[in-house]
Symmetry: C2
Subunit: 197 residues, 2 copies
């Protein structure tokens, strides 16, 4: 059985959990508290020198890190990866965009406000602007569409919904992004996601 | 023929160029100046709403963005993607790590110092520390190894070499990371890379 080392406050970790659940892949979950720096212990760094969750350990004991790489590995050959070559590429585009432009803005605002207790007014205004721009980009992309890529749920939806559904923790109102809000509800029902928002 | 919209100062764009060259994929290169905000024109945003290079346009006119997604698309079925399932996952781990922990530190320090003309002493010390940590992590990973994954060149090497070979522009000495320095030379010779450091 695979082991997922993860922190339940981390959307990156929940992506991995939801992908495994959706695909019926059994796993053991080990809680790692990021705020207490439990990813910086010698034991953890031996598994993942980058000191980041999620990290999984495969049945044969080999570790794998980076949420995007893990979910692509778990979902290989499944219906969560489009068979059409261009749709598969667009799904990858969303996975990389999430890690570059979405997580470092939306998740960082959330972390600072909710977990470090900083007033939103003291955050870098550029960071908040980039987070809002990411939500606006998704809202345009999802307008008139059920899922991010093609006609069905893919890893793109799982990866993007993770921090989008927590955006309110950072002071963003999903009601301002109606196509995003409808899509979040759709993906939550489809997976299904049991963790409360 | 595909069209690559790119800025030659961007390692993200060079990854795409080198992958196409290595695979013998013909392309047209269109210069886009990032510093002059040429990615923010209406025409460019219609192609890629994220306003980022590289963006490619496929033969049928459909666009694709995000360097990681583009090189995975171009290299599908080629020797640049390991056939072993675990090695393929590790290659993806490097691609995502590069976009999350390497490019936002090493490339950002370079951009601020070389292209915005900021004195290095005025940069965020935390940013410089994270960039140095990324180089140190690579140095440990490359110790005693020819390539990042398995025994041959993969997309991981192409993606990681792009900004690593320009690290000196941001004031980092590759001589401090001997396994990285030897690997940069190896990858430059193997591809081969014609662009000067």
């Amino acid at each position: 059985m695979i082991t997922i080392w993860g922190d339940p406050i981390s959307g990156n970790c929940l992506k991995v959990k939801w992908t495994a659940e959706r695909l019926g892949i059994p796993f053991t979950w080990v809680d790692v508290n990021v705020v207490n720096r439990e990813t910086r212990t010698e034991r953890f760094l031996a598994m993942n020198p980058a000191g980041q969750v999620p990290t999984i350990v495969l049945e044969d004991g080999r570790p794998l890190a980076q949420s995007g790489a893990i979910i692509l590995h778990l979902a290989e050959g499944s219906a969560l990866i489009p068979t059409d070559r261009y749709e598969r590429a667009k799904m990858l585009e969303w996975l990389f965009w999430e890690q570059y432009s979405h997580e470092p803005t939306i998740a960082v605002v959330r972390f600072q406000v909710k977990y470090l207790g900083k007033p939103r007014s003291e955050l870098d205004p550029g960071l908040i602007e980039r987070a809002a721009a990411a939500l606006a980009l998704m809202d345009r992309a999802l307008s008139g569409k059920r899922f991010l890529v093609g006609e069905r749920l893919s890893l793109a939806d799982i990866a993007l919904v993770a921090y989008t559904r927590f955006a309110h923790d950072g002071g963003f109102e999903l009601a301002d992004y109606p196509a995003v809000e409808a899509w979040v509800r759709r993906v939550e029902a489809e997976l299904p996601i049991k963790e409360p928002r």
